[in-house]
Symmetry: C2
Subunit: 133 residues, 2 copies
């Protein structure tokens, strides 16, 4: 069991804090998800990014269905202790369930949203087994 010598501030976010995942090799921001205390502790003890899914209301080990696990190389905490920043090794080269390396594949240009990046995998294939259930 993980015993922490510091507190994170989960109160402001109704038990959740945002967690940013950054590629430890390239510095690219891959995604943002949420953590509760249990998912933070699980991340620390397993070494794999484990978030809290707001839609499923359950712990969610990133990559548990896609195989695109995130190995956590470093965890930083911000000045208010209400956000964490994970430096991760992204297995499969892609974090986004839509097939892109980063979830931030769209850019605002002239008040429109344009897709800037290219897919690195086909979500239809990767999530096939899950959809087939």
């Amino acid at each position: 069991m993980v015993k922490l010598d510091f507190d994170l501030d989960f109160k402001k976010g109704n038990g959740l804090i945002p967690a940013i995942a950054q590629d430890c090799n390239t510095g690219e921001v891959l995604m943002l998800a949420y953590m509760n205390q249990a998912s933070f502790n699980e991340t620390l003890s397993s070494g794999k990014a484990t978030y809290y899914s707001r839609s499923r209301q359950a712990l969610w080990e990133k990559g548990e269905t896609s195989g695109h696990v995130q190995y956590v190389r470093e965890i930083r905490v911000d000045c208010d202790h209400d956000t964490v920043l994970l430096q991760v090794e992204q297995v499969g080269g892609a974090a986004c369930h839509k097939g892109y390396k980063s979830c931030f594949f769209s850019i605002v240009e002239n008040n429109e949203l344009k897709i800037l990046d290219k897919k690195v995998f086909d979500p239809e294939k990767v999530y096939k087994s899950v959809k087939g259930i």
Copy 2:
């Protein structure tokens, strides 16, 4: 007035979405704050990062008291349209009100929190005029 050709999803966060600010030159993640629709629009039209302060419940142009303005070079939106990523030029070289370049100046080591970075300014001096009011 800004007219957007896309929607951001503010519902899940009670009218707010997280906004990550990343140094456009170094890739360092500087801070995370929140935006409502008005602050997002203001950021677009002014070119300066404008957040929504949850404690003050008001729009907050980053750097309005410290001078540490963030000029926005690029705005990215994530796959769910519920998080934005700003590439910013950080005036004064520091984003954190505690004097550090990044708000993420602490690292988790052996279940303890350790300060890794060094201050680049003295908050007592920068915020002196504000405190003196």
